[in-house]
Amino acid sequence: MALAEPKVTLDLARGLGLTADEYDRILRQLGREPTYTELGLFSALWSEHCAYKHSRVFLKRLPTAGPRVLQGPGENAGAIDIGDGWAVVFKMESHNHPSFIEPFQGAATGVGGILRDIFTMGARPIAILDSLRFGDPNDPKVRHLVAGVVSGISWYGNCFGCPTVGGEIAFAPEYAGNPLVNVMCVGLVRADRIFRARADGIGNPVFYVGNKTGRDGIHGATMASATFDDKAHEQRPTVQVGDPFTEKLLLEACLEAMATGAVVGIQDMGAAGLACCTSEMPARSGTGMEVELSSVPQREEGMTPYELLLSESQERMLLVAARGREGDVRRVFAKWELDAVKVGTVIRDSDLIVRHQGHEVARVPVDALADGPRYEKPTAEPAWLAERRAFDPLTLPPPEDLPIALVALMGSPTIASKDWAFRQYDQQVGINTLVLPGSDAAVLRVKGTRRALAVATDGNGRQVDIDPRRGAAMAVCEATRNVSCAGGEPVGLTDCLNFGSPERPEILWQFAETIEGIAEACRALEVPVVGGNVSFYNETSGQAVLPTPVVGVVGVLEDANRHATQWFKSPGHRIALLGPDDVSLGGSEYLWTRHGRVAGRLAPLDLGLERRVQRAVRAAISAGLVTAAHDCAEGGLAVTLAESCVTGPARIGAEVAVEAPGRIDLVLFGEGPSRVIVSVAPERARGFEAAMAEAAIPWRWIGVTGGERLVIRTGRAAVSVGLAEIDNAWRSGFERHMA
């Protein structure tokens, strides 16, 4: 059959997102001109999204090894041994570009994609966390995006049946043109039954399983590898459409097929669809693959080889079965009423051979596709940075109205309650959720063991903006500290690195510095990075997002019953502040909400101290010494205390006195790492003091819980606010925009 295909030229290649150099490279690697279909393969596989062209040289710096690591980066997801024969599988991915074009489906398919990454490893997903960033919620367009993204996540996760247990939502004008939708999924698998995305065994059959292929999402990976302009909405057809019901069937069918022993390897058809799976799977195994595209289940007529290979239709997998076990695969998928069609075979020659109705349409070495170009592009510190960092926030007048300043912070959309979003998410299906969203970290039990997992995400774009290296290190510290504050020992980390165009030296500098910061912190805290995702080109009409590394951390609690939450439990408990006095208003939430500035310097970070503080908190929790533990983060000590007063089931006040150097706004609202507040029942105070002495960290008692107000004294000044006022501000700060 003759297909009317465009003639392959350099211009055509450029139109598909390839550069002239890359096109030359294709000519050299093939020794000839590519066919149109082959050009499509290269354009997708060599997109930034798939090939990590600009980031790979930097990503090598991240520590990825550790005694518990069963699978590091490079697979569908990372895996960590948690004991008793169980492994936790997790990864975070971005779906920023599609979510801006079409927020509901963009976010929904973001959830769908990360769920598949987890269950292709053989793990049953047990938790979803979403890290979202939007522009100013006063902007109706931003509200439309928030509502669309939240309902998309809700629709997909709820229907699929995986609880959404955490994440954060933060706001800054830099995200107006490019919202960030980063989704993390956590799953459980027996440690000896992890599946990988490999095409081993010459002659093994290759099955296409799951949803049928349509024309949706063609060139989604290419779309996600470019910046937007004011015509972004014309890209809507590149956004995929999700079907969570089919995903649920695919989950059950995949896990059941895996249990039969018939599955050799399996990969999610995510970005770049069939093209990606048919090249990456054999490339990992040193094999090749031949496929016949006319066998691919299709829901549209007349699809070309190009379209079939590049479609990003959702809820599909490519599965390599053991020869002779085809019947098991077909039987299981038939039970779940899903297609399972043999479309190819694993071959010895390391080529991808694609046929359509018997005619060869592509023959490319799999390594040429899977090992895309790598660039080491120039980096340069942004010219504006030195000036921004030189700004001293203490040259601004101190607030005269401390209570109003505190209430305003509690009501800032970033700090305020996110119940409006979370109540739209099923948080409990699976009945593992011991700590629901709303504390520093969610806690999930591991049925059949005494253990539990603590999970949290974090990433503060403003801090990274004024100091990428330290800001990124602080993000790692904060996410691990969140997990520690729930009682979990951090065992692994995944990251989603959201930046503007890497072709701009100052953006690439931010990225390189960020990687260094993450690497330093992970090395010091001994937390390996086992997977993640880079999202470049988050910019519209030249305006890039704040450099935003989001990190997701998984921690293990040896005893599920010994976990902590952030809120005060009853009056009369003593309150202690753990960690250093060093804080700064630079890059703080206070400086932004009060003065509209992102400037100054971050507080110093001592990674050794960070580690000791976290260890001390975990030890105190596991010994049953504390009744609450809360990480000091956005809004500083005052907001941390206020959150502990009002975020629990009962409002409980506090009266504290903090003698610390510096101006009152610095003491109350300054932000800095390695700080935690805890509450301790009076009868445990002696035991707690002994534990802290052993931990060799700075700490002190600062007050006691009780009453209807939060009172903080420092020096001669004091701030006293009624809890009802704090609570109202916190409950309505975000929701009032969405009502």
């Binding site: 709820n158 109540r423 039990r445």
Partner: protein
């Protein structure tokens, strides 16, 4: 007491009910696939939560016409115990085993939250271990839980004491503010006239262990187990 947990494509509370029955109540339990026409040897069938067939048509509409539901119809007619929660309630209404329908929540959004239920009827196998007016705490998780029925049918429900649970405040007051989805008369759960088929939107399986969501849901199961004993001794354990 032998339990069967029905699994439709898209069901997701099946494993949770299975866990509660086998690990918490230590009773025999099996899964029943949606194509089964014979329930086998079970005393109580559970229709769990989820999105059967994706609920793309109407919640429970396709499942309500599946082979297993025909088997359940016969089972219920012979007095077998049927508990439908969440999607299970929707399926029972779609199948006509319970009157009324569950519409989209009044807020037009999905709701996952803790709710308080006041017990109106303790004369069913599912509630006989409870006190009239007792307040239970159990979570809901649904997008279509607004119970609706026409006036004559509502009169019948009242007349035959078929309203079992109503959304209420922690003190047991049935108020509009305590109604999470706009249900008629705050209805959260009803039984058929014979009292052996219970449909409820809340999730008792998510409130069956102290560490996750409390133990009020367990009271329903304990009522069921006790109801076979017939002397109420389970209450004293």
């Amino acid at each position: 007491m032998k339990f069967g947990v029905v699994v439709f494509p898209g069901t997701w509370s099946d494993c949770d009910f299975h866990h509660v029955v086998s690990e918490v109540l230590h009773q025999p339990v099996k899964y029943v696939w949606h194509r089964e026409r014979d329930l086998g040897d079970v005393d109580c069938v559970i229709l769990p939560g989820g999105f059967s067939y994706g609920d793309y048509l109407r919640a429970g509409a396709v499942a309500g016409r599946s082979p297993v539901v025909e088997a359940i119809r016969d089972f219920a007619a012979k007095g077998g115990l049927v508990l439908g929660s969440c999607n299970g309630f929707q399926i029972l209404c779609e199948a006509g085993l319970l009157p009324g329908a569950l519409l989209r929540n009044e807020c037009l959004q999905y709701r996952c939250q803790s709710t308080h239920l006041v017990v109106d009827n303790v004369d069913t196998p599912f509630t006989r271990g409870l006190r009239p007016g007792q307040v239970l705490t159990m979570p809901i998780s649904h997008g279509e839980g607004k119970y609706q029925v026409d006036a004559p049918a509502l009169a019948q429900l009242r007349e035959h004491h078929q309203i079992v649970f109503r959304y209420a405040t922690a003190e047991g007051a049935v108020t509009r503010a305590a109604n999470p989805n706009g249900s008629l008369e705050n209805i959260a759960g009803i039984v058929n006239e014979a009292g052996n088929v219970l449909g409820m939107m809340p999730h008792p399986e998510r409130a069956a262990e102290a560490v996750v969501g409390g133990t009020d849901g367990l009271l329903l199961f304990q009522s069921l187990l006790g109801s076979l004993v017939e002397d109420g001794t389970f209450l004293k354990r």
